[in-house]
């Protein structure tokens, strides 16, 4: 005998509540219906491309600048006449750098907005989770930023113009051995990109007889002083810094200066391609080894991107070295692809495998059969605050 403890108050709340839930569902259906209907109007109607980006949570620092680059590129394309006459329209969804929200964003873009191409999965976790959803709906998933080795050959509908971490790690390992280094201290941020670089580097380096003293730090670490002091006492031949983002790298360099520790340095392309960081910590960086894959500074498209970004947003392009150019190229690649095979996911995915030496802000782009971007990293050495190609 369930004692009905409260009087009429709860039944009023209950009716109001069921009303709210009803509206939610009906609202969803109406919007779903309205969006579906737009398809049949005249050809001047915009081509819709889905975008998945982490706009909140830990991934937000990458998502916001990426969105700015996408909007900048779209604006440029539309002022220059759009995609074979039709304007390009981006529908941006927040995928929060995790699997659950990535699948929700993908489902919404595919089923409500009926897009054929999704520009995104920025974090690898987003791309891995969204790929089966896109593949099932024959929609092409094109990521300018996911670098996890797990994505290599994951599905014919997935491809990326950001290189897998494997190539970078190998090049640097061979360079270290060439320098005769036997012991390397390694500081790795606990993210998929940084772990990928470490795995490639340590596989090759240990294969060639080297040993590694490794320390890992979670992404939200602010105080690196003790970890750095610990690596300092390892007195290895070189110190490899493997961060996910630039702010982490800058915090480490600042604290290395505080600790008066000036080892021989190596770092991944997140730092290697950041000219202003190389300049500010010039003396610390002298002779540091890095591998560069994008942005050789005198690439005309790259310099144009930097200038336009500064004028439009009044701020320097963040991650100018790594993600900026690949995001910019991605929008143009989509334009070229649609003009070649039309706004169809399946055809676009097949077309993507034929891209060869396509000139972009991030240099020559070639996509391999496994959906990865071919083209390794070029070894570079930092001379007087600038990264130059190692002879």
């Amino acid at each position: 005998m369930e004692p009905e403890a409260q009087g009429s108050g709860t039944s009023l709340i209950k009716t109001v509540l069921w009303l709210v839930v009803l509206i939610l569902i009906v609202g969803g259906l109406i919007i779903y219906g309205k969006k579906g209907g737009e398809e049949k109007e005249a050809s001047k109607e915009p081509i819709k491309v889905g975008v998945m980006l982490p706009l909140t949570g830990d991934g937000a620092p990458y998502g916001e600048p990426a969105r700015n680059v996408y909007l900048l590129a779209t604006e440029e394309i539309n002022t220059a006449g759009g995609v074979s006459g039709q304007p390009l329209e981006l529908i941006i969804e927040d995928s929060k750098c995790n699997g659950k929200d990535a699948t929700s964003a993908a489902q919404k873009l595919i089923n409500i907005d009926k897009v054929q191409i999704i520009l995104g999965g920025f974090c690898s976790s987003e791309s891995i989770a969204a790929t089966p959803v896109a593949a099932a709906a024959k929609v092409a998933l094109f990521s300018p930023g996911s670098s996890s080795p797990d994505l290599t050959g994951i599905s014919p509908y997935f491809f990326r113009n950001y290189p897998s971490d494997a190539s970078q790690g190998k090049v640097l390992a061979e360079a270290a051995v060439a320098k005769g280094w036997k012991k390397v201290a390694f500081l790795q941020e606990q993210t998929d990109y940084a772990l990928g670089v470490f795995k490639a580097f340590s596989a090759r380096f240990t294969e060639l007889g080297g040993t590694i003293i490794k320390e890992e730090v979670p992404s939200n670490t602010i105080d690196f002083r003790s970890v750095l002091s610990k690596l300092k006492t390892a007195n290895a031949d070189a110190f490899f810094l493997d961060p996910q983002t630039l702010p982490v790298a800058e915090r480490v360099f600042k604290q290395m200066q505080d600790l008066k520790w000036k080892p021989v340095l190596m770092f991944n392309d997140v730092v290697g391609g950041a000219p202003e960081t190389l300049a500010t910590y010039k003396d610390l960086m002298e002779g540091a080894l890095t591998a560069e894959f994008t942005a050789d500074p005198n690439n005309p498209k790259f310099t144009k991107l930097l200038a336009e970004y500064k004028t439009k947003y009044g701020v320097d392009l963040l991650y100018a070295s790594s993600y900026g150019p690949t995001e910019y190229d991605a929008v143009y690649l989509i334009k070229t692809g649609i003009e070649a095979v039309g706004n169809n996911g399946e055809k676009f995915a097949v077309w993507s495998r034929t891209v060869k030496d396509w000139e972009g802000a991030s240099g020559k782009t070639t996509i391999g059969a496994d959906g990865d971007r071919i083209g390794g990293h070029t070894l570079k050495i930092v001379k007087d605050g600038k990264a130059e190609v190692m002879k």
Partner: protein, 292 residues
């Protein structure tokens, strides 16, 4: 329609989480901010067992329940020693420790790379083999699970055990004088809650086909807390309503015309303000009975 079935599956998974947390928080009054850890234990155990050892989904989910139950027994015993707000703090501690294990024990969980390619559940009877690959079939499976969990929670609520839990919530010391070993009750409900949460974890892992530590942080536990509080404490219907509202809210906001850059952050503002307004004007949530 795919989109709505997708949302329905998510609502189902979060309903199981909300129902199980409601048992612990709503009925027994234990402020557990570590529910996402058991959600994660279920997900990781079943993901590892299905991908590495190729175990059938239902068997792997059962193992997940066992793992979560054993660990929750230990966690529950430690938490029962704390009083008042320290229970919430202690549980935050456990959630951080379990998350660190997911992130650092890379031989087992592949750390930040997470576990991709988790298979969908399949049922085999002799020669007949059915795989829940399509979203709709998965929705049917999750609705069955939600129904089972809902009736288990109703069964508990109606039983003398449920009434004893509510009495513990009200005045544990007084209840002891009348002959109840309240520690056993709190452990029992904590283990049941953890077991059910791990079932949701197994479902989540095989539905999204990829898991990584970032889904099982304290923020997720705090989100689950607000689901149960919004829905209404000590009411199973409230837990369902809370899950429905807070899973659909972000999706609904996708359609509302917030400019895209602040849309995402606005959602966080809405959550924060909702928690404040609830505490000020309706601490027992939408349809709950128990006022915190």
């Amino acid at each position: 329609m795919e989109y709505l079935t997708h949302l329905a599956v998510l609502v189902g998974i979060y309903s199981i989480l909300a129902l199980s947390l409601n048992l612990v928080l709503g009925y027994a009054g234990i402020i557990s901010v570590t529910h996402a850890a058991f959600f994660g234990l279920g997900a990781y155990t079943s993901a590892i067992l299905t991908t590495v050892y190729d175990l059938n989904f239902f068997l792997a989910a059962l193992c997940g329940v066992l793992v979560a139950a054993i660990i929750s027994l230990f966690v529950g015993t430690v938490l029962s020693k704390f009083r008042g707000d320290f229970v919430a703090l202690g549980s935050v501690g456990f959630n951080v420790i379990v998350w660190s294990v997911f992130l650092n024990v890379q031989e087992l969980t592949r750390g930040p790379l997470g576990i991709p390619g988790i298979g969908r559940p399949n049922l085999e009877f002799g020669i007949w083999n059915y795989e829940f690959s399509s979203n709709v079939s998965f929705l049917v499976l999750s609705v069955i699970f939600v129904a089972l969990v809902y009736f288990l929670c109703q069964f508990i609520e109606k039983s003398s055990f449920g009434r004893a839990l509510k009495a513990i919530r009200e005045d544990e010391e007084a209840l002891q004088v009348f002959g109840y070993r309240t520690l056993h009750y709190k452990l029992a409900v904590f283990v049941i809650g953890a077991g059910l949460a791990s079932i949701a974890g197994a479902l989540f892992a095989s539905y999204i086909t990829f898991i990584d530590p970032s889904t099982f942080t304290i923020n997720e536990s705090i989100f689950l807390l607000s689901v149960v509080i919004l829905g209404g404490l000590a009411s199973n219907r409230g837990a369902l309503i809370g899950a429905l509202a807070l899973v659909l809210l972000p999706e609904f906001l996708r359609f509302v015309g917030f400019p895209s850059d602040i849309a995402a952050q606005m959602r966080q503002v809405v959550y924060g303000v909702m928690l404040i307004v609830l505490m000020l004007y309706r601490p027992q949530g939408l349809v709950g009975e128990y006022k915190l």
